[in-house]
Each structure stands twice: as structure tokens, then as C-alpha cells.
């Protein structure tokens, strides 16, 4: 059963086609990751799901029902551009958003969430006194406190330190366990790999990837080698069969040409240097993203 069904949706802004004949189904109870470069159409798609924008063509159904102009109940939405009333107190802000979302037993919910995200001490403080990370957590609480059926988070992790990002990640997984469907857009590929049941990538308004991580990686085959060696990137230069090197400093991710033989390549490397680690693997989501979004610019160091 799908909670969201998008069919042939197009959205234009003047002469610019922001989203082009997009079709996408989001299964109930899943965590769906939206990835894509800036300006590729992620936020427009999300705004159309939220009925903030109306599509120029196609249909979007939520729980099988098409648009009727009213706002969706039981949906939590954390936009990318987000703000809170600075002069309001933390507790009052949550009460306001809780009431807008039609929630009940709000006092207990607020206490629970403030405690969970370590903000209890700030309940009676004004929003303007909070740090950026705290505000981010507060906004997250305001979005999810009523535990809506569908939660849409646009860049929920941006600006968070690793500790808070981890707390948020756990909270999202817990919400999924309780039955919520979660869509989140992110530029953090490792977070998407770790969390998402499905991943959807949009590029220049077109859907370029849609499926589970395995399905997506299978499309690209096992054409990637990870090498950790004493010689580093320098010794990889000039070896036949290497299409591209992603240099991570101590570690290099090598994309092989389709006709290349991995055994030959490792043999070449071993002739030149001492190898600490060697692995033939599927491409990472990060690599797939870069292959799609920046094929010309990133293709360097050809053999």
C-alpha cells in the first residue's frame, strides 16, 4: 500500500521546467530518501506533495485521495527554509504547532520530546536564546510531536553536529517503528545509505534513480575498488583500466573501465607499493550521485 502516489507530475516556473513528468510511489511505513544536487527539483516535489504548489500536470494522491485544496492533516512537514517565532517561549512554540497540527495531550507530548532531545531545561526560554542546533531540534519536535502518519523532512540534518544528528536519526527510526512514513531529503549520502529503505534521485527535474540501495548499486555493477596503500594516489596514476580515482587521502576509491581486469590492476599496484587494504565493491551512493550529477567535471586522472 502506497501512502503517496505521484503520476506524471510536471511543474514549470515560467519557462523553467522544475519537475518533468515525475512518477513515484512511496510505500506506507518506509523511509524514503530524496537526493539530488541543489536546484534539481527536490524541494519543488516536496512542496507539491504538501500542496503548497500545484502541479501543472499529472496527479498526486495521498492515501489514495487526490488534491482538494485543503491542507493535509496528519502530515508533519519540516521545510528546508525554516524559522520559528523568536520571541515565543520554547513550550509555547510547541503548543502552537501542536494545536495547529490538531494534536491532543500536548503537554505530555511536549515534555516527552523535550526530554528526549535534551531540551527540557529550555522549555521556558525564548527561542531567540537557543543555539542553531537547539532550534533545529526544536523545529524537528514541532514537526513530529503529534506523530503524524506522514513526515516530510527537507534537509533535517543540515547544520547539526554528529551527536545531535545521531539523536535525530534514532528519533526518525523510532517514528518509523511506531508506524510513520518518512520522506527526507539530504545531501548526506552516508546518512541516506544507512537509513533509507528506498532512495529517489532527481536531477534537472527528471527522476534518475528510484529503488532500494541494492537495486541502485546493482545497476552499476561491481566496478569499484577500494585501495589503501603506502604510495597513495600517486602510484595509481598511469595504470591501465582505471577510469576514475576518488581520492579520500589515506584511501582511494577507483572506478574501473568496463573491460578492465581487477586482478591485473592489483598486480600493477603491488609492483609499485605496499597495499594495506584492497576490496572490490559496488559503488557508493556518493559515487553514483557524482557520476550522475557531475560526469564531466569530476572525471579526472584518466590512465
Amino acid at each position: 500500500m502506497n501512502i503517496i502516489e505521484i503520476e506524471d507530475v510536471t511543474k514549470r516556473f515560467g519557462s523553467v521546467v522544475a519537475v518533468n513528468t515525475l512518477s513515484l510511489n512511496v510505500p506506507k511505513g518506509s523511509i524514503y530518501g530524496f537526493i539530488g544536487p541543489n536546484g534539481s527539483g527536490k524541494t519543488t516535489t516536496i512542496r507539491m506533495i504538501m500542496k503548497i504548489f500545484y502541479p501543472d500536470g499529472g496527479t498526486i494522491k495521498i492515501n489514495g485521495k487526490p488534491h482538494d485544496g485543503r491542507r493535509l492533516n496528519n502530515v508533519g512537514y519540516l521545510p528546508e527554509d525554516r524559522g520559528l517565532y523568536k520571541k515565543m517561549k520554547v513550550h509555547d512554540v510547541l503548543m502552537f504547532h501542536g494545536e495547529l497540527g490538531g494534536g491532543s495531550d500536548l503537554k505530555n507530548k511536549i515534555a516527552y520530546w523535550l526530554d528526549l532531545l535534551d531540551l527540557s531545561d529550555y522549555a521556558s526560554k525564548k527561542v531567540e536564546t537557543l543555539s542553531k542546533g537547539m532550534r533545529q531540534k526544536l523545529q524537528f519536535i514541532a514537526t513530529v510531536m503529534n506523530e503524524p502518519e506522514l513526515i516530510i523532512l527537507d534537509e533535517p540534518f543540515s547544520g547539526l553536529d554528529p551527536v545531535n544528528a545521531e539523536i535525530l536519526r534514532e528519533s526518525i527510526l523510532n517514528l518509523q517503528k511506531k508506524g510513520s512514513t518518512i520522506i527526507f531529503s539530504t545531501h548526506d549520502m552516508s546518512m541516506a545509505e544507512k537509513m533509507c529503505d528506498n532512495i529517489f534521485m532527481i536531477y534537472k527535474g527528471e527522476k534518475v534513480l528510484d529503488g532500494t540501495l541494492n537495486e541502485i548499486q546493482d545497476q552499476y555493477g561491481a566496478d569499484t575498488m577500494v585501495v589503501q596503500s603506502t604510495g597513495g594516489e600517486a602510484i595509481l596514476q598511469g595504470i591501465q583500466g582505471i577510469e576514475k580515482i576518488n581520492n579520500f587521502g589515506k584511501l582511494q576509491e577507483i572506478r574501473l573501465r568496463p573491460e578492465a581486469n581487477p586482478q591485473q590492476i592489483i598486480g600493477e599496484i603491488l609492483k609499485k607499493t605496499e597495499v594495506q587494504k584492497f576490496e572490490i565493491t559496488k559503488p557508493s551512493l556518493n559515487d553514483i550521485f557524482i557520476r550522475i550529477a557531475a560526469p564531466e567535471r569530476k572525471e579526472v586522472n584518466h590512465a
Binding site: 503548497i52 502530515v75 512537514y77 520571541k87
Partner: protein
């Protein structure tokens, strides 16, 4: 509707719970009453320092009389008859002959004495003042002072000198002294209201003397009150919506509420604020005047009209301000648009006096039937003692109602598009595009 109520509650409580709101709620009547009382005190408490004058009498027939009258006044008229306290300045006159060889030099010298505060004024009386218009230019009375035009003292000299001159002219005619006595009697016209028959008791209510309070202060107070309510409730929506847009609060809320619900909640919050302030002030005024035993100065029959017009006025102006606020990206945009946006609200304030002077005239009637001006202008006209045809306030109300619906509709259309558009200026072209093309 529930969401509108949640937004309304936040908007209303945020506004009325601020210190600035409570302070202005208290301060405004204090300042208004204070300036009124100060004006009354200043008006009654004249400067009682004695004033020195130099009189140059070319005619030779006025000086003696002036001296006599000034002494008479200094003995009798400058003290309060009950308390004996000095309430007016004494006029001390100094007479000097004209320096015919250098009249300008003499005047310049005397002017210096005025500048040095030794003198208050110099009065120069022309040679032919008794029979003006007899082919000479010597029939003047001149009053030289630093504040010649505004000076009240001038009036005393005008009356005293002219009365004396008339007396002299009459004496030349050798009339019966009895005729002489009433010849210059002056009767003021008393301004009266209208008589009416009480519909319940059938008794005739006699016409009352009309006063400044009824004909000027009540209409003035009502329109100022309405203007202030709008300033406090509807105009702030301009910057508050801009802030919600620039602080990215709008986008968060728009996930939950439609743009119309968002705008409605905000405008209704403004209406709530305006009506609260109006209720406090009008209630306070009613209680105060009834305690003072002058309860009938407040036209109770007008209060329902006042509140209905105020409600529609705030809705009309508020939806316009919210829509314009949605088109602004920062404070600069707000500043550039604030004055033109407020012009329709401010304009009636400039024409209060002509409207009060002639509330049934073509200008006032026409203006009262142009919806953006109707609430204030119609209230001024209704509050004056002049009878306005019954159909006019009703037609005005209908027009305002229609215009309010129109401005909410246009406002909502502009709002829903503009609130998500970044980087576009609030130009007329953009407003038109948002309102009618999207």
C-alpha cells in the same frame, strides 16, 4: 476554522501580552487627556506680567482716552473678583510725540526696545483716523510687536480705540444721549441645536445651546480613536507578515495551513486587538462621563455604528497590509511601501476640519461614500449634530462591506503567491500579477 482560531489566538495574545501594547494602551489616553488639560490650563492661565506700550498719537484725540481706559482696566479688570488674584497683565502706556524729522529712526529705536523686552508693542495712530477714507493715507492704526499677527493684546487696543472714535463721530452728530447708549449695542448670535419630540413620552425636548464639545470634540475624538485603532491593529500586519516571510516562519506554517487560513488568522488577530483597545477606551469614556454626570455627551446611538465600521475598517486595511507584507522581503521594502499604503488611512485626518465644518456638503458626502474613506469620514459626519440622511450610513456600510470582501479576496490572492516568492520587489506590476494573473 480550527486552524484559523489557533493562528488568531497566537496573533492576539502575542500582541496584547507585549509590554509595548500595555504601555501604549495606558499612555495614549494619558497623553491625549494631558495635552487637552495643558491646553485648557495654558488657555486660562495667561501671562500676567505687566506689559509696557508706547503710543504715538498723530491725531491727538486718542491718547487721553487710551490712558484713562488703561488705568480703568488696571484697577478693575486684571484681578479675579472673588479671590483678588491677579489674572491678567496690567497695560502701562507711555506716550511720546512723533519725531517728524526722522520717523523711521524713531520707529527703529522703539523696535530695539521691544527686542530688548522693555516694551511689548508700539501703537501708532494716524492723523486722520477719525474720518478714514478722506483722501489721505493717514487714517491707520498700527501695532508694532514681535508677534503682531498672533498677539491677543492687539484686540484690546482695537476695541478701545474704535469705540472711542465711534463715540467721537456720534458726538459730532449731536444725537440724543439715550439713542447714543444703545447705538453700539452688539448682540452675539447664539448657536443652538434642534428641538425634538421624545417618541416615548411625547414631550418636546427643547433645543440646547450647541457647544464646541458636541460639534467638534466628539466627532474629532471618534475619528482619532478609529484612526488609532487601525494604526495599532491593522498597520503592524505589514511588518509582521514580512518578518514571517523573511524569517522563514511562513513556509513552516504553510505546511499546515492554507495561505487564506494564515492571512485570516493574522487579520482576525488584528481585529481582536483593535476591538479590545476600542472597548477599553470607549468603555472607559462612558464610565468616566457618567461618573462626571455628563453621560449624554457620548452619542450612545452611534456606538454600534462605530464598532461595526471599525470592525470592517480593520478587516479592510488589515487584509491589504497583510497582502503587501507578503510581497516584502526585508525592512527596506516595508519602509518603501508603508507610506503609500497608509495614505488612504491618513488622508481623512487632513480633511477633518472641512468635514466637521460642513458635514452635509458635497465634499464630505462624496468622500464618505468612497469605501476606503467611508468608515472614518462617515463617523465624523454622523457624530456632528447635523442630520445626515439615513440612507447614507447604510449605503456606506454596504459599500464598505463589498469593498472589504474585495480587499480580502485580492489580499488573499496576492498573499498566497507572494508569501513564497523571494527576491521580488513589491511593485505595482507584481501586485497586479499576483492578484489577477496567477
Amino acid at each position: 476554522m480550527r486552524k484559523i482560531l489557533v493562528l488568531f489566538k497566537r496573533e492576539y495574545l502575542t500582541a496584547v501580552k507585549t509590554k509595548s501594547f500595555i504601555i501604549s494602551l495606558i499612555l495614549v489616553p494619558i497623553i491625549m487627556a494631558g495635552s487637552f488639560i495643558t491646553f485648557m490650563i495654558m488657555d486660562n492661565n495667561q501671562d500676567t506680567t505687566d506689559k509696557n506700550f508706547v503710543v504715538i498719537d498723530h491725531s491727538g484725540i486718542v491718547a487721553a482716552h487710551l490712558e484713562e481706559q488703561a488705568e480703568l482696566r488696571n484697577e478693575n479688570a486684571i484681578f479675579d473678583p472673588e479671590t483678588g488674584e491677579k489674572v491678567q497683565p496690567a497695560y502701562i502706556l507711555e506716550f511720546t510725540d512723533a519725531d517728524m524729522s526722522d520717523p523711521s529712526g524713531q520707529l527703529a529705536e522703539l523696535s530695539d526696545r521691544i527686542r530688548a523686552k522693555e516694551l511689548h508693542a508700539v501703537i501708532e495712530i494716524g492723523k486722520d483716523v477719525l474720518h478714514p477714507g478722506d483722501s489721505t493715507e493717514e487714517d491707520y492704526i498700527r501695532y508694532y510687536s514681535e508677534t503682531g499677527f498672533m498677539d491677543n493684546v492687539r484686540g484690546w487696543f482695537t476695541n478701545t480705540i474704535n469705540n472711542h472714535l465711534r463715540q467721537l463721530r456720534v458726538e459730532e452728530l449731536n444725537l440724543d444721549p439715550e439713542v447714543n447708549r444703545t447705538l453700539f449695542a452688539w448682540t452675539n448670535i447664539e448657536a443652538m441645536g434642534l428641538a425634538e419630540i421624545d417618541k416615548k413620552t411625547g414631550e418636546t425636548k427643547e433645543a440646547e445651546r450647541s457647544n464646541e464639545l458636541q460639534s467638534f470634540l466628539i466627532p474629532y475624538a471618534m475619528v482619532i480613536l478609529m484612526f488609532m485603532m487601525t494604526l495599532m491593529s491593522a498597520v503592524p500586519l505589514l511588518s509582521s507578515v514580512m518578518e514571517e516571510k523573511s524569517e522563514k516562519i511562513a513556509e513552516v506554517l504553510l505546511g499546515n495551513v492554507t495561505p487564506f487560513e494564515f492571512m485570516a488568522g493574522k487579520v482576525l488577530g488584528g481585529v481582536g486587538v483593535g476591538l479590545t483597545v476600542a472597548a477599553v477606551y470607549v468603555g472607559g469614556a462612558v464610565i468616566t462621563v457618567s461618573r462626571l454626570g455628563v453621560g449624554d455627551v457620548i452619542p450612545m446611538g452611534l456606538l454600534p455604528w462605530f464598532f461595526v465600521y471599525l470592525l470592517l475598517y480593520i478587516l479592510m486595511v488589515g487584509s491589504g497590509m497583510a497582502a503587501l507584507g507578503a510581497t516584502c522581503n526585508d525592512n527596506k521594502d516595508v519602509q518603501s511601501i508603508q507610506f503609500p499604503a497608509m495614505l488612504p488611512v491618513i488622508f481623512p485626518m487632513f480633511v477633518i476640519v472641512p468635514i466637521i465644518s460642513n458635514p452635509a456638503g458635497t465634499f464630505a458626502t462624496t468622500l464618505a461614500l468612497i469605501p476606503p474613506f467611508t468608515p472614518t469620514v462617515m463617523m465624523i459626519r454622523m457624530a456632528t449634530p447635523v442630520t445626515i440622511p439615513v440612507w447614507q450610513p447604510i449605503l456606506g456600510l454596504l459599500l464598505v462591506l463589498l469593498f472589504t470582501v474585495f480587499s480580502i479576496w485580492v489580499g488573499a490572492r496576492i498573499f498566497r503567491t507572494a508569501i513564497l516568492v523571494q527576491g521580488q520587489k513589491p511593485s505595482i506590476g507584481n501586485l497586479f500579477k499576483y492578484a489577477f494573473r496567477s
